[in-house]
Symmetry: C2
Subunit: 202 residues, 2 copies
């Protein structure tokens, strides 16, 4: 029925605008320090509509993260696509995320992703468990390609991809938390050296 369909569209629109507003606020304030009130004010909706779309603020964050993960994985794939060599593609997978990190020297958005990730992983485990899967899939594809080309030792591509991904993410964490002072590019290089050694043929 027409009204129902329109309602659905409207609801999706509210959700999309809320996510967009939240993302803007995170960019501006450099943290999830935004309030639901700010989100609905910027999105031009009401609290009621917001809570009809999302069970709470956390679900809004999950939705935002999921969207980012999908877009980020696509961007990473695009960066890899220009490399002809499988090993070079793997290197891009490992080092590529670091290029997303800093915007004119600040780490505003990535810091939020990182800061909230673990809290959400506990409060909404089922929803967050697969949020980062797009990245793992990209890594797996890169590992499998390198293995097939003989550039990496054979093995369980999915398992190695998961380890690689966690290695990268943990260092992203460390950088945004200022636990590592080296610039992202240098960390990426060190990491690639380590990962390359781990994956090379014996």
């Amino acid at each position: 029925m027409a009204v129902g369909a329109r309602d659905v569209v409207v609801a999706d629109d509210v959700a999309a605008r809320a996510v967009e507003a939240a993302r803007e606020l995170v960019w501006e304030a450099g943290g999830p320090g935004f309030t639901v009130a700010q989100v609905v004010a910027r999105a031009g909706t009401s609290l009621k509509s917001f809570y009809r779309c999302f069970a709470g603020k956390d679900e809004l964050l999950v939705a935002m993260f999921a969207q980012d993960a999908r877009r980020g994985a696509e961007a990473l794939e695009a960066m890899m696509a220009v490399e002809p060599e499988p090993l070079a593609r793997l290197q891009v997978a490992v080092t590529g995320l670091f290029r997303f990190l800093s915007v004119d020297g600040r780490l505003p958005y990535a810091a939020t992703l990182v800061r909230e990730h673990l809290r959400l992983a506990e409060s909404r485990p089922d929803q967050l468990r697969h949020v980062l899967d797009p990245f793992v899939a990209v890594f797996e594809q890169a590992v499998a390609g390198a293995q097939a080309a003989g550039a990496a030792r054979p093995g369980d591509a999915r398992r190695d991809a998961r380890i690689l991904f966690h290695v990268v993410v943990s260092h992203v964490h460390a950088i945004v938390c200022h636990q590592i002072d080296d610039p992202p590019g240098a960390v990426a290089e060190q990491l690639w050296a380590f990962c390359h050694a781990a994956l090379r043929r014996p």
Copy 2:
């Protein structure tokens, strides 16, 4: 002066009891869902005394984490000490943390450490930056030992130790967040295989 000295002692005592109370509450509730009111009630102090010792709840958590890190690093060192071979000691360093994780199948305390860590790293970066250094130091010592014995490729032991530590921690994170279903022991094995490959001589 005597009164001043006693005051300091008393303040330390308040701090120590608050940290102890917080740890107990985290164990019991399985999260930092404890309130400051609960802490002071259990510690038998007043809110005023609490806020004279700590600038806020976060500082209490930092103090607790720092203490845990020191104790954990000591425990890890003790576990390593029984191994005669440098490479075996390195293996213990990499896999040992996973043994601290689960207590009768639950991950109550480690989950809190993990969940709060990144948030605190941002809110109190200078205080938290070196909280985990005891672990890194243990790792560095293990890597350097393996290098000296020719069991690992030569290199910057500190850098490799930091990478190893982040690899381990990221997988601990993943486990407590239920992003990995494998039991801790299996993950530890996979990780050691990966790290061993990365560090072995070419």
